[in-house]
């Protein structure tokens, strides 16, 4: 850990308890652990170099205007739109993003819901309530409970589900996730996964079980910063996580999702790296469908120092619209971490995917199952599926439940 990092630790989001853990011996976060598949890929090097070279103070109104006048934006244009110089252009960015979104997606907004099937986690991400040092209620749904939950979700009319586990390959092994995918396939048209990164053969297996979309949040693309936030567990290995989307595509997944947790580090640089990562992978795998999420930090259990205030709504709008203009073909998801008001605005200017009827606890969708495990974070938009559906229609948008046939 360099000096700069030591200095950073003095400020920011570290609670007393975490400070105690910090100095202990931590493994090299850039070195693969046994069993981790290493693929040949230059994408990581390119993204890291481009992120490091991104000096957003170097962009002015001229570059922003140039970017706004283009049909097809270069990574340089993307940098300009993410720079502070673009803030006075937010309205223009939003208008342009809206046009671009309608060209590609019409009025369609896809709806889905996440289902947490387990919350065991072996990682120590200091900003997350599920981390292995937090004494929370842990649980894991069995096949019958998963089916009960899914049935209840399917009854709301949803056809797309996102399965989440905490990141514990011991408690939620690939086989367990595969069984959940098979059940999900019975009830849903689209099955997405947000689980721990795995090898391409595991992704291939899960694809056969019915999953077709893999999302992995890189959290931050600054590997030094990453190291100070992810103190233990497999997740600590930065490059293995970074290459997860590529391994998923090699395993035959149809699409992959990306995200930086905005607010963990310099959000402009992380947003740039996220978009550029997606851009490079789509160039390398032209058939791949691309999705981006824009989570901001939320308060969690046992660390009151974490709050999302660093990235304000204006900055969030800047990120969403810059993503849209740079990657007009990508799906952009807004999670229930955001409140209904913010989400309703974002679906008018660039977001194309929205979750609804969310419970981030383990179990809790069906009436007769009481939540078995604690929640990962607080949700801000508690609207039901029907409420979200009706609100979209009122906004002149077309809710879409299904956009895929599993073949």
């Amino acid at each position: 850990m360099g000096q700069a990092n030591e200095a950073r630790l003095e400020t920011g989001i570290f609670s007393e308890e975490i400070r105690e853990h910090l100095p202990k011996n931590r493994i090299n976060h850039m070195k693969y652990l046994p069993g981790m598949e290493a693929i040949k890929s230059d994408v990581l090097k390119e993204v890291i170099a481009a992120r490091a070279g991104y000096d957003y103070k170097a962009y002015g109104p001229k570059e922003v205007r140039q970017a706004l006048n283009k049909d097809s934006l270069s990574p340089e244009d993307f940098k300009a739109l993410l720079s502070p110089a673009a803030l006075p252009f937010l309205e223009e960015m939003a208008q342009a993003a809206k046009v671009r979104t309608r060209e590609h997606y019409g009025n369609s907004i896809y709806m889905f819901t996440p289902l947490y099937i387990a919350n065991y986690c072996e990682n120590y991400c200091i900003y997350c309530g599920f981390n292995c040092h937090n004494k929370i209620k842990r649980a894991k749904l069995n096949a019958k409970e998963i089916e009960t939950e899914m049935k209840a979700i399917a009854e709301t009319g949803l056809k797309e589900i996102l399965l989440l586990t905490g990141e514990s390959s011991k408690m939620s092994d690939v086989k367990y996730i595969g069984e959940a995918c098979k059940i999900a396939r019975e009830y849903f048209n689209v099955v997405g996964l947000e689980v721990y990164p795995m090898n391409s053969e595991d992704y291939a297996y899960l694809q056969k079980c019915g999953a077709d979309y893999v999302t992995v949040f890189q959290e931050t693309y600054d590997s030094d910063r990453y190291e100070t936030l992810h103190l233990a567990g497999h997740k600590r290995i930065f490059p293995y996580r970074f290459n997860a989307q590529e391994r998923a595509l090699m395993g035959g997944m149809r699409g992959v999702g990306f995200a930086a947790l905005l607010g963990l580090d310099d959000f402009r640089k992380d947003a740039f790296a996220t978009g550029y990562h997606a851009y490079l992978l789509q160039r390398k795998y032209p058939q791949a469908e691309i999705a981006l999420s824009c989570p901001r930090l939320r308060p969690i259990i046992n660390n009151e120092k974490i709050n999302p205030m660093d990235v304000h709504e204006a900055q969030l709008v800047q990120v969403v619209t810059a993503y849209r203009l740079f990657l007009p073909y990508a799906n952009i998801t807004v999670s229930t971490r955001e409140c209904a008001k913010v989400r309703q605005h974002l679906v008018q200017m660039g977001a194309t995917k929205i979750s609804a009827g969310v419970s981030v606890a383990i179990g809790g969708h069906s009436d007769d199952s009481e939540a078995k495990g604690d929640e990962q974070f607080e949700i801000s938009d508690a609207r039901t599926v029907k409420e979200v559906y009706d609100d979209l229609v009122d906004q002149g948008l077309q809710p879409v439940m299904s956009d895929y046939i599993y073949l």
Binding site: E103, G106, Q287, Y329, Y389, S402, Y404, I405
Partner: protein, 264 residues
């Protein structure tokens, strides 16, 4: 504005007769769009993306489609011929009829069709008795192969899907119209009624429109505008454009007529 000429002028695809040459595409849909396309645009054929058909769920596009309108299920979502064939079979099982529009796309950025795989899918589905309408990048050799493979129409793209850029591929579509004895239906890219009119003047058999109407401020009026543009373009085609416009300068009376006069 029906003239004697247009009255008898029908579009025939796979033995089915259509009065309208306006086909609604599937990229963007909403109940309002479908209603407007039928009642104000006169569409008799509506594309259905099977991947959007939400069987038994809310917002099922199938519930939006009125009786008497021909469904054209498409294979969007297919990345190769095999997947296209499977989607087409699923559509048939769901009771969507024998029409199928083949879309094979393995490029998530521009959504350009894969001509090679499209030929294969056309061949397989035509053998199974489907009325196959392949979406393709306008290439004469591919169009010939598609015809030989059993296609019922050829659907070249005007410009990339959703781009509203008009007929970027105009010259190549014209070649298809001249050379291929099948209805040529221009699909994708038509951004304004004048584009649709131009395609029809050139001799396209029909046009497929979606984004241009879906994203208009007034969907109903735009549907009507397209209807009129298509009728006007078709009428102009049937009337025979003046040769000056169609083939470059050509005099209206012969310049060498005097030679005959001398001989006679």
């Amino acid at each position: 504005m029906e003239t004697q000429q247009t009255k008898e002028d029908k579009l025939v695809i796979g033995g089915q007769v259509f009065d309208s040459r306006f086909i609604l595409g599937s990229g963007k849909y909403s109940l309002d769009l479908i209603k407007a396309a039928i009642s104000h645009g006169g569409a008799q054929m509506i594309t259905l993306a099977l991947r959007r058909a939400n069987q038994g769920g809310v917002g099922n596009i199938l519930d939006f489609i009125p009786k008497g309108v021909t469904l054209l299920p498409n294979t969007s979502g297919a990345r190769n011929a095999k997947e296209a064939v499977r989607i087409a079979r699923l559509a048939r099982e769901l009771g969507c009829g024998d029409f199928v529009k083949i879309e094979v796309i393995r490029d998530s950025k521009y959504l350009l069709p894969d001509n090679q795989e499209t030929i294969q899918a056309t061949e397989m589905l035509a053998k199974e008795g489907f009325i196959v309408m392949p979406y393709m990048y306008p290439d004469l050799n591919v169009a010939r192969d598609l015809k030989n493979a059993g296609a019922a129409t050829i659907m070249p793209l005007g410009s990339p899907i959703g781009s509203n850029k008009g007929l970027c591929t105009k010259e190549f579509i014209k070649i298809l119209i001249d050379e291929i004895d099948l209805p040529i239906i221009v699909d994708a890219g038509i951004g304004r009624p004048s584009d649709a009119c131009l395609a029809m003047e050139m001799g396209a058999a029909a046009v497929m429109i979606n984004t241009a109407i879906a994203t208009a401020r007034d969907v109903v009026s735009m549907a009507a505008a397209f209807k009129n543009a298509i009728i006007a373009g078709r009428a102009a085609y049937l009337a025979g454009l003046g040769r000056v416009i169609d083939k470059g300068a050509a005099a209206s009376s012969p310049l060498t007529g005097f030679l005959q006069e001398q001989e006679g």
